[in-house]
Symmetry: none
Subunit: 229 residues, 4 copies
DNA sequence: GATGAATGAGCGTTCATTCAT
DNA sequence: AATGAATGAACGCTCATTCAT
């Protein structure tokens, strides 16, 4: 139940610094950790392709196994339930996004240029990982009660990256924003990046990625009235 | 297939002014139009509740019938396929949103105050219809190839409302924006409204609706730097 | 159950002269006998068309009602069960065949020419009523336990017509056959007539109706060796 | 649609020597060919019993599975649709009939005695396989458009066996028949064999198998007038 | 550790039949 | 007498999951 999900999330997220520090474990029957990693990589790779085309609910476990390159029996040696696949997929996608961002975003420079660069980098990643983002985006709600908080926490971690960049600017007096405003802007940036993926059916017709990026950055910095005259 | 869906959408939306002017009809076996309306209203009401809790895929046709207050046989007198319920639900929600907006938004005044009001009104509707918006938002991807364009068109109609308000401001020199910028801002407003619904798990903790609204409007108008000093 | 059907048939047919002299009644809710006849005629006409195309089991009561030109509710004013339609249809087809035969077959002349004529007339009727015969033929097995004997009795009545013609020939010494042989030949003629309908997929390619008729008559009269040299 | 079926059949049969040489494959999910054969044998055995009693349409897939000795899920590992069962059953029955005939019929001797023997053997098989023949006979029409030609071709193969025997007699001047006549007689024999099965409700009362056989052979050879003398 | 045959609960859907109007 | 909306048992079929090999 979604509404229950939110309740559960709130519960967890409220104290997340305490409990959610480690990954949620999906138990496997197989012992060899190396093998588990290898098989799950195969699985995730296949499943993402599948989910992009048919969504999670319309993909069968058999199809997932096949796409992964092994049998249905083997699939169940590495997961307990179909929903574990979804969690593993979502988890992997977020990790990938985050990893790529951490490579290119400098959260410590604390000037407007670093904010511009962060947004550009983020939008670029979202563009390159469009399909994956879409999957995450559309299927996250199918995650079970206990898996969802782990994924939401990763979202917050990403939002926190932008927040950190902006806080740097504020600290250096490049921007004048209170905490509420900082958080809102961070969330806006985050959503606008996703938006490029989940509204691509219309945005792609109106803008190239570069146009979209620069327009959003300008709007972010100056608003619609800041440039009025 | 999602990716195909997009192709289809693009195809339809490309020429939408010509083909998509009328509603997509869902055929019913029952002839009495009044009755059809009544039963479908029951159905939609029940289905929304269900979809909020379990999502479309996890809701069974029997549950939908029960929630609507009639038997499974009767359900199928008013739809052909389970997916028709989803279309009917999405369609109804959008109609409702749009209707409520048209009541309160004045697209002709053409000043900044009217833009503020439009955004406030829109965010208020999105707040009041949180559950419905969430359903639409999360389940739209499960719509069939042929139903999706109808729903997307409605989205564009709503975006167009904001666009019209902004164009008014531009015409009256209250704002200086080119067409690309106008469109982007319209989409941003639209998405930020939805965002209040689909990210409520975090936003509700940070802001009241009023705070969220005013912060977003200010960010929209002045950007983060327009107010720098 | 078919096997039970046979048992039941045997039971009934064994004493048929006593019990099966009247038509099996299909009760109607409506009182007006004239109307019953009219509505059932509509029904049979529509149903035959339907059964030709889709068979009994694949035709729904709604389709039957529609094909008859009235509502499903009305249909059930004139029958009790769907299977009644099948009985009514089979019954009507046999009546029609028999009526047409009685018009043209002279069972009293008692010469070989009258036998030839009877066969020719019968085959002609079977040719003209191909579709109906096929329906009867293929759907009779779906008749209920209690309806089947009535239809089988009609078959025997038709076989008896040929038997009568042949008995006339024997009485006049035009043929030398004992009773067993007479009956077999009668059944053969009957089946060969049906055969033209139910094996038309191949026979039509090999013969015209006239060729088929004359070849069968010759084979009937002279065998394959009677003409050996 | 039955009428369409015939059209399709004609189409296929017209060129059958070219296309229909191989069996129609019914795909199975299971890979082990041996197992497929075993399970399908179970299935066919159970289904024949069921179809004899209730007909194809009145037998449910669950009943078929149960009669076969496994679960509904397993049934569908070996077929795709319920209709596949019917095809498999019809196909198996024909194969069985044909196999038994090929064991006993000598198509090369080319004398009248061999024709007598062929007919006797055929009628005996039809007697022993009464139930199966009845099923084939009554349910063949429920076969799908694409399955029917395969079954009809098998019929023609059997007719061709009699044709071959008769052609031998003609070649050896034991009989004087043109091709049209040969074909007709072959079809007659074939139908008269089936007739013993599908008209057993009356024929059994009039004749033993032996009487029926000898009477038909005599009628075949000498006609009703050849012996008039 | 890998396989894939087996299972059966449960799904979407149909349709003969009823009955209030 | 005629209608057609309502019903729900029962159908064909799917698929997540298990477990013997």
């Amino acid at each position: 139940m979604l509404s229950n999900n939110w309740a559960v999330c709130n519960f967890f997220l409220g104290r997340r610094r305490k409990i959610l520090t480690t990954k949620r474990e999906v138990p496997a029957s197989v012992k060899d950790e190396k093998l588990i990693q290898k098989r799950r990589d195969q699985m995730i790779k296949g499943a993402v392709k599948l989910f992009i085309n048919k969504g999670f609910h319309r993909s069968t476990t058999r199809e997932i196994a096949k796409a992964a390159g092994f049998s249905i029996g083997t699939l169940y040696e590495y997961i307990r339930k179909k929903e574990d696949v979804l969690y593993l997929v979502c988890d992997a996608i977020y990790d990938q996004v985050q990893e790529r961002l951490q490579e290119v975003i400098d959260t410590d420079r604390g000037n407007i240029e670093s904010l511009r660069e962060a947004v550009r980098a983020y939008f670029k990643v979202m563009d390159e990982m469009q399909d994956e983002v879409l999957v995450m985006y559309q299927e996250a709600k199918s995650l079970t009660k206990d898996a969802l908080p782990y994924v939401l926490e990763k979202e917050l971690d990403m939002v926190a990256m932008f927040q950190k960049v902006i806080e740097g600017c504020v600290r250096n007096k490049e921007l004048m924003l209170n905490e509420q405003e900082i958080k809102l802007v961070s969330h806006n940036i985050f959503v606008q990046g996703q938006m490029w993926a989940f509204r691509r059916w219309i945005l792609r017709k109106l803008y190239t990625l570069e146009e979209y990026t620069e327009l959003q950055i300008n709007q972010l910095l100056y608003g619609v009235q800041g440039r009025k005259e």
